[in-house]
């Protein structure tokens, strides 16, 4: 039962990163990120309930609550506030047009399928497909970072990479040790805070958050 649910969720999470890639506006990036984080929290919830009933472990449930608090509520809120204060008229900021970007994403899924086909991930009862889905999310996040020019787009791309890593860790290995999860959350929040502040400063100095302007240092 829960295995089917997780399978569905991992497909939905992959789908949400496709949706993100097809977004045009920064405000909808933030929405898609929030939806993806909700799906991940749901997956963590399913696994948490299972591990609680099987082994009596609370840690995955605590992680699930942390995901809801940080990735669904706090970080998107922070990004929205940053966006509100550096708002721009021009919204089109991707390098290729959207159908091509989505096609490349499909290519990335195929690529991770062939990368991971050789290893057997089924050691702890997980199907290889889940691993492929979640690793694809990482590559799509990376590609999203490359394809967007605005500072905020790059921050969200990184957060999607982090989401992908998190879901990979959870599905592949029943979660990392609890203390590692906690540390990753601390790093993630610090990252978002620092990048938010840098975005403000770049906006002050360059009158824009277009990272194409960051091209003075060469050689």
């Amino acid at each position: 039962m829960s295995e089917n649910l997780l399978e569905t969720l991992s497909v939905l999470i992959l789908l949400s990163s496709f949706v993100l890639m097809a977004n045009k506006r920064i405000s909808s990036y933030i929405k898609s990120f929030r939806i993806q984080s909700m799906l991940i929290a749901l997956a963590a919830g399913v696994m948490g309930v299972r591990s609680l009933s099987d082994e009596g472990r609370w840690d995955i449930l605590i992680v699930c609550i942390l995901i809801v608090v940080l990735k669904v509520i706090y970080i998107p809120g922070l990004l929205n506030r940053t966006y509100a204060s550096v708002r721009y008229k021009v919204e089109k900021d991707f390098i290729l047009n959207i159908p091509i970007l989505v096609l490349v994403c499909c290519g990335l899924v195929v690529f991770s399928y062939f990368t991971l086909a050789t290893i057997d991930g089924s050691s702890q009862g997980m199907s290889n497909m889940q691993l492929v889905n979640s690793v694809s999310v990482i590559w799509i996040g990376l590609f999203f970072m490359i394809s967007r020019k605005k500072a905020l787009g790059q921050i969200i791309g990184f957060l999607v990479i982090e989401n992908g890593l998190y879901i990979t860790a959870m599905l592949a290995t029943q979660g990392m040790p609890f203390i590692v999860d906690l540390g990753i959350f601390i790093d993630l929040v610090t990252f978002v805070l620092i990048m938010g502040m840098l975005t403000f400063r770049i906006n002050d100095q360059f009158d824009s958050i277009d990272t194409d302007q960051l091209n003075n240092l060469k050689g």
Binding site: I119, T173, I179, G183, L198, Q205, L217, G219
Partner: protein
């Protein structure tokens, strides 16, 4: 006692937060660095005598063995030098109006946090926690790289955080795969525990482990500045304040390299030979040296040139780890020490030069030896040292690495390696020695009068120069003992 290493920076951070007077801020930063170094010295003796130090409290995460101790010693030594140098450097920057006086506190707080994260990375045995600490080093030093808050510094800081964080994210994928390769073999309490992974290396799943190694090499390699993931490094190192550049180059790169060495040890133990990791490491190492050589030959900015030279030396260390014979590992570890000392000395003296001339352009600087007699001399000798001229210590380690390559009959690798080193040598000589000739030009230089600016900092330079020069001729017995123990940890011959 080991926990003090983590407690002292936190106390120092609190003190820096509370205290106001500038003099007290300087005092806190230097005295915490001194205390850390004293503790590290005591711990080093313990490690040499008894092997690894581990405590069962706090989940048993604290762990120090000869390998981490060696790099920790470098971190804290360079940390102390940078702390002493910072006093004069910051005072001068404030006097020249480049920094507001109230930013000194922020500078020290970030610097202490930076040291704390590096100490943390080196004192845990859990690969996951080590990853977290290495990611935290990026975050702690982001604002130090962008400290001047101008266009260039912000660009460097942005690239630094984005590239390193993504790289490190790739390393996390590698660590997840490492975890996956141990599924069903390790117990719940020892997940990702380096000692447990190493002890059970033979039964880990090879296919997953090989994939994990590739990701970890790319990830930590980004942080270590190995080509082609090095692009953030010249920007960050040239824009950061000089004491921070010294720490980035001398210390941070080594911490990332440490992650690669730990993983290599596990993978080689699992595979039973070094052929898989060796090919990758030698390839990426040679590529780094070649990239650095090209950019050094055409460089116009002396801080960027030093940064590219760091890429070269990380490449040399990667090659040494890839060869994986006792001699090459010894040479590689020794090279870490030598490179750190020499490169931080060069960055610190470059700081003095920059404050005097107010430019990073090589062609605008003439006659350093007259304007800055001590820093100039240190810079000149340091350039010889970093290029690998005897009698300096870098020569000793580069020589043993080269010998190790030829001993293993890797003829072509050896020839390419030597040719590239020669190219780098020529690059450094051709490009930088221009700075020493000619008369100091009073119209172009901001402050052409002769004399040193930063007296305590210059003392540091002389101390480092003495160490670098003496290290080429004589290696103290304790250092040798430490390196040999570290070598046997890497090779697994304990």
């Amino acid at each position: 006692m080991g926990f003090l290493l983590l407690v002292i920076p936190i106390i120092a951070l609190l003190l820096l937060f509370i205290l106001k007077p500038k003099r007290l801020l300087h005092l806190v930063s230097v005295s915490s660095a001194v205390l850390l170094l004293i503790i590290a010295a005591v711990l080093t003796y313990k490690v040499i005598l008894y092997g690894a130090i581990a405590y069962s409290s706090l989940g048993g995460f604290f762990y120090l063995d000869a390998l981490s101790m060696m790099i920790l010693d470098i971190v804290l030594m360079i940390g102390l030098m940078a702390a002493i140098f910072s006093i004069g450097y910051l005072e001068e920057e404030v006097k020249q109006g480049k920094l507001p006086a109230k930013k000194i506190r922020l500078y020290y707080m970030l610097m202490v946090t930076f040291i704390f994260t590096m100490v943390l990375a080196l004192t845990v045995k859990n690969m996951g926690l080590m990853w977290i600490a290495i990611e935290a080093t990026t975050l702690a030093s982001a604002f130090l790289v962008g400290f001047y808050n101008n266009r260039y510094a912000l660009e460097a800081a942005w690239k630094y955080v984005i590239i390193c964080s993504v790289g490190i994210a790739v390393a996390l994928l590698g660590i997840i795969l490492l975890h996956l390769s141990s599924a069903g073999i390790l117990e719940n309490g020892s997940f990702l525990d380096w000692t447990a992974l190493y002890a059970n290396a033979a039964s880990l799943k090879s296919s997953v482990l090989r994939l994990a190694f590739i990701f970890i090499l790319v990830g930590f390699g980004t942080k270590a500045g190995l080509a082609p993931m090095h692009t953030w490094l010249p920007d960050a190192h040239s824009q950061a304040p000089s004491p921070i550049s010294a720490m980035l180059s001398g210390v941070l790169l080594n911490s990332a390299m440490y992650g690669i060495i730990r993983t290599t040890a596990i993978v080689n133990h699992n595979q039973g030979s070094s052929s898989f990791t060796g090919r990758l490491l030698i390839g990426i190492g040679i590529l780094s040296i070649a990239t650095a050589a090209v950019f050094i030959l055409t460089q116009k900015d002396y801080k960027r040139l030093l940064a590219y030279s760091s890429i070269e030396h990380m490449g040399i260390i990667a090659v040494a780890i890839g060869i994986f014979t006792p001699l090459s590992i010894f040479g590689g570890l020794l090279h870490m020490i030598n490179h750190s000392l020499t490169k931080s000395m060069l960055f610190l003296s470059a700081g003095n030069i920059m404050q005097k001339y107010d430019t990073k352009q090589i062609f605008k600087i003439k006659g350093i030896l007259k304007t800055l007699p001590i820093s100039g001399t240190v810079f000149l000798l340091g350039l010889f040292a970093i290029a690998g001229t005897p009698p300096f210590s870098v020569f000793a380690s580069e020589f043993s690495i080269t010998a190790a390559i030829f001993n293993q009959l890797n003829l072509w690798v050896g020839i390419v390696f030597i040719l590239l080193l020669a190219a780098v040598f020529a690059g450094i000589a051709v490009t930088l020695f221009k700075m020493f000739y000619g008369q100091p030009d009073s119209t172009e230089a901001a402050d052409p009068r002769t004399g040193e600016i930063n007296i305590p900092g210059t003392v540091c330079l002389v101390v480092l120069l003495t160490a670098v020069a003496a290290g080429g001729i004589y290696l103290p017995e304790t250092v040798r003992e430490l390196i040999i123990q570290a070598q046997s940890i890497v090779l697994g011959t304990i």
